[in-house]
């Protein structure tokens, strides 16, 4: 499915990009922008309060009622898998599981296994996990700000956190994880006024780390977490000791030009073995973008419309999420009648994540991150264009939604230390492969520490490519 639609979308995007070059920056980032109600501005509460996730009985009863009274969906077309979206043949099974087998109270206990807190940053109560294990005396505790995306949540990190925070005698450091919930998601407040895009969220998180007493820290991010992390590394380079991402992307014009050039002449731009992960003009990548990015398009333009059905119908929310988790995990899942959803995750895991949207009713406000970030105002800030000297390490899973070669990444991350390419894994890497993920992050932190110990000067030279 490309053709006409692809042409229209590509033309629109190109013209939009070109048109926005001439706009004057609307405003610069305000470190004190207030996102809460005006009236709360002067009662600034800087306390850090413990927080517990609660699945109230009333909420559970209401949810079960909706699941059991879900209006029977229309059957799918003959002989298809997930090509038209979530195959309604499997909906009943999922809803029944959620209503009758998902153990709410047990899951509530599970979700509270890590200490959690809220603190008010710029008018928004920000929810976060803060956790570390007992370290050896010789080990330095290093803070790691780890950022989720959409349709994820801090739940994505629960299996990897024990490994990330594991204490290993042979390492001279141990990690303290700070995993916040993005504003408008889960149990974090949502902005009451427009303007809270990815760069503004970066400011909120920089302020969060200051509130928690960290002058310098490492950042890890995937999905929106990658964009926010990249923004933090750009706007606050003196705070970020190192940036690790599983969705490394440079959004500079240089990178865009190189991508288009690389579509025609791959070998100077990308390793031939990885060329088909990045080719925009061949049809394969372009088609995938057209078929898979409808959700992004509608969320970036009419978040509040779509949010209404998703707030009201748990089946609707589940189908929406699981379709994305399906195709985001492996592209070939598109052709499976069950969407391959049970292959790499348990149902409890995926429902835990959905509960982080259903229980706090945050689906609509979570959609808004697209509308607030994919617009001219954000482009006009020009932050994505500015390179960052913060040492950066990336990992690239085989079925991640986008790939850029080191050449492209270095247009943004001038001190890209190394990249790791794996021939497995998808978009939700931390959830899918928690041990591999944790090891890669820990190795990265060790490398960052080395780099700083050696004087921290980037000569732009890439370390030998790490193809794990």
């Amino acid at each position: 499915m490309g053709g006409l639609f692809g042409l229209v979308i590509t033309s629109c995007l190109t013209i939009e990009l070109l048109a926005s070059q001439n706009t004057e920056p609307a405003y610069k980032l305000d470190p004190n922008a207030w996102w809460g109600p005006e009236c709360t501005k002067y009662h600034n509460d800087t306390s850090i309060r413990p927080f517990e996730i609660v699945f109230h009985d009333k909420m559970i009863a209401d949810l079960r009622y909706r699941l059991n009274n879900h209006r029977k969906p229309v059957p799918p077309l003959e002989g298809i898998g997930f090509e038209y979206g979530f195959n309604s043949n499997i909906l009943d099974g999922w809803l029944r599981f959620w209503a009758e087998e998902y153990p709410f109270k047990e899951r509530e206990i599970f979700l509270n296994k890590y200490p959690q807190y809220v603190t008010n940053i710029q008018g928004l109560d920000i929810h976060f996990i803060k956790y570390r294990q007992k370290a050896y005396a010789h080990q330095e505790i290093v803070p790691l700000l780890i950022l989720h995306g959409w349709p994820g949540s801090v739940r994505e990190f629960y299996e990897t956190i024990p490994h990330l925070t594991s204490v290993n005698k042979s390492r001279d450091f141990a990690v303290e994880v700070i995993a916040p919930t993005l504003p408008g998601f889960g149990y974090s407040d949502a902005a009451v006024r427009p303007g809270l895009g990815m760069h503004e969220i970066a400011v909120v998180f920089s302020n969060l780390m200051k509130r928690l007493g960290y002058k310098k820290y490492y950042v890890q991010g995937g999905d929106w977490g990658a964009f926010i992390g990249s923004s933090i590394a750009t706007s606050f380079p003196n705070e970020v000791l190192g940036y690790h991402t599983n969705l490394g992307l440079s959004l500079t014009q240089k990178a865009l030009s190189l991508t288009l050039f690389g579509s025609l002449f791959p070998s100077p731009v990308v390793d031939p073995a990885l060329a088909d992960r990045t080719d925009l003009l061949s049809g394969h990548i372009r088609d995938a973008m057209i078929t898979e990015f409808g959700y992004m398009h509608i969320q970036a333009t009419k978040p509040d419309t779509l949010g209404i059905a998703m707030t009201d119908s748990p089946g609707g929310l589940l189908a929406y999420f699981l379709q994305l988790i399906s195709t985001g995990t492996r592209s070939y899942f598109l052709n499976l009648e069950d969407g391959g959803i049970d292959k790499y995750y348990t149902r409890d895991q995926l429902l835990d994540n959905i509960m982080m949207y259903w229980a706090p009713k945050s689906i609509t406000t979570s959609f808004r991150i697209y509308a607030e970030s994919l617009n001219r105002r954000t482009l006009a800030l020009g932050i994505s264009e500015i390179p960052t000297p913060v040492p950066t390490i990336t990992i690239h899973a085989s079925d991640e939604i986008a790939y850029q070669s080191p050449l492209l990444l270095r247009t943004k991350f001038t001190n890209l230390l190394y990249t790791t390419n794996i021939d497995t894994g998808g978009h939700f890497l931390a959830l899918e492969m928690p041990i591999l993920f944790a090891n890669d992050v820990l190795n990265a932190i060790a490398e960052f520490r080395n780099w700083h110990a050696k004087g921290g000067h980037g000569n732009g030279e890439l370390l030998p490519n790490n193809n794990g």
Binding site: I9, L18, A19, R71, P73, L77, G85, L306, G316
Partner: protein
């Protein structure tokens, strides 16, 4: 000498583009259509019932009760951002009043009666029970009855025509003809069955409606359409110029390479392409594309994942209302995006808009209605290159001020060389028949009058 070549060569290359696109490029072949393609369950193929059965719309007590329950039990919705009107989509502050009305004041029995005021029927075409209204006026002896196939789109329904039908079917001293209206529900919409297998795109719907008209005994007829109705009507006029003797569209658009080329030419030299007072309906192009990007999210997701987004919309009446009414707001006037109530009370009563919603809700047809996008935006359908095949049928277009896209006659003529007239009006939006029924009807009747004159001239020759 070489300098001349240096200038002449690139100019030649540049000139060859329009020459190729506009003159030399041969049109794609007429697609091979299977006029008997079966869209229903295979086991029914042997015992197809070709009778035409009367049909009545029923809002069953069970359905109404369940709908009211769901509306009452809705979850509270996230408040909108400060000061945004409908810019982020349907403003949730408006929902309560709409939902309260739907659950407590919308008179279901009355509206059922209203919807049944015109005769409804169903007949099985190619495996699908197709619903349609047929309204035949009573005429004096010297007035000829001529059939008009009236085609709705998404997120509309036959409901869009109810106010226009009395005007369309009126008998008048000024005319020697009166219209008989055949207004079907598109397959997968309202009371028409949906295909059980992939492949039912606009071209295939055109075949179904050709067969419908043949079933009803019409050898020649006129077609009117807006939205998908315009695309399907255009396909019908492309494929069946013998049967269709006139085509009226209120959303005329052609998206061939040649059309796009001319649009770009007009970006540099507007006066070559469009009347000065209408230039702002098309230019500047950057604004047009920006608006398209802003408004086509629904199209993108429906063309790719209809079955996903449809599940929530099948389950939540509030979700369905917001999703559909957002279009009745923005597509009526894009300025309504700044209004807190989306300007929904500007042209319609709540009953009118909820009638239309009921045709989606009571039939559970939102998912199947969206599949038309996925089918029609597939590479298979796109490769038919319908936009590059000319329509050899007299065509008349009505262009409302706030229709989603505008193209001037010189561009339309690439596809519709027999374009008789383009009526430009300084009012109205996408749902024109619904919004301005009298103006709409008047224009359609005028068009048919002209089509008849042309026909008579032809037969006289």
């Amino acid at each position: 000498m070489s300098r001349l070549l240096f200038i002449a060569l690139p100019l030649l290359v540049l000139a060859s583009i329009p020459l190729y696109l506009l003159v030399l490029k041969s049109p794609p072949p007429m697609p091979k259509l299977d006029l008997e393609e079966w869209w229903g369950p295979p086991e029914l193929k042997q015992k197809q019932d070709t009778s035409i059965k009367p049909f009545e719309i029923t809002f069953s007590e069970t359905m109404v009760k369940e709908l009211k329950e769901r509306i009452k039990k809705r979850r509270p919705f996230a408040p909108p951002l400060e000061g945004v009107g409908f810019k982020y989509g349907f403003n949730s502050k408006q929902l309560d009043s709409w939902l309260k009305y739907w659950a407590e004041e919308y008179p279901f029995a009355e509206r059922q009666k209203f919807l049944n005021q015109y005769p409804h029927f169903k007949t099985n075409i190619q495996g699908l029970n197709i619903h349609f209204m047929r309204i035949t006026p009573k005429v004096p002896k010297d007035v000829e009855i001529v059939p008009l196939l009236l085609l709705h789109g998404w997120p509309g329904s036959v409901r869009e025509f109810y106010e226009a039908i009395p005007h369309l079917t009126a008998v008048s001293k000024d005319r020697n003809f009166a219209l008989e209206i055949i207004a079907p529900s598109l397959p997968g919409y309202g009371f028409s069955d949906a295909a059980v297998r992939p492949g039912l795109a606009a071209a295939e719907v055109a075949v179904i409606f050709k067969n419908l008209m043949a079933r009803l005994g019409y050898k020649q007829y006129y077609v009117q359409g807006g939205d998908w109705g315009a695309l399907i009507g255009s396909a019908m006029a492309t494929f069946f110029p013998k049967e269709i003797i006139g085509f009226h569209s209120n959303m005329a658009l052609t998206l061939s390479p040649a059309a796009t080329f001319l649009e770009f030419v007009g970006a540099l030299f507007p006066s070559l392409i469009v009347e000065p007072e209408l230039a702002n309906r098309l230019y500047p192009l950057s604004e047009k594309y920006s608006t398209l990007l802003e408004e086509l999210g629904y199209m993108h997701i429906q063309a790719t994942k209809p079955d996903t987004v449809g599940i929530g919309l099948t389950d939540s009446p509030a979700g369905l209302l917001a999703y559909i009414l957002e279009k009745f707001s923005t597509w009526t006037n894009p300025d309504f995006r700044s209004k807190e109530d989306g300007g929904l009370s500007y042209r319609w009563t709540k009953d009118q808009l909820i009638d239309n919603l009921m045709l989606y809700w009571s039939t559970k047809s939102i998912v199947t209605s969206m599949r038309l996008y996925a089918e029609s935006f597939s590479s298979r359908h796109f490769d038919l290159k319908l936009d590059e095949i000319q329509v050899q049928v007299p065509t008349w277009v009505l262009q409302a001020k706030y229709e989603l896209a505008y193209q001037p006659p010189c561009i339309l003529k690439l596809k519709y060389p027999k374009l008789v007239n383009a009526s430009v009006i300084e009012d109205g939006g996408h749902f024109l028949s619904f919004e301005l029924p009298e103006i709409f009807a008047k224009d359609v009747l005028k068009a048919i009058g002209e089509f008849r004159k042309l026909k008579n001239v032809k037969t006289e020759l």
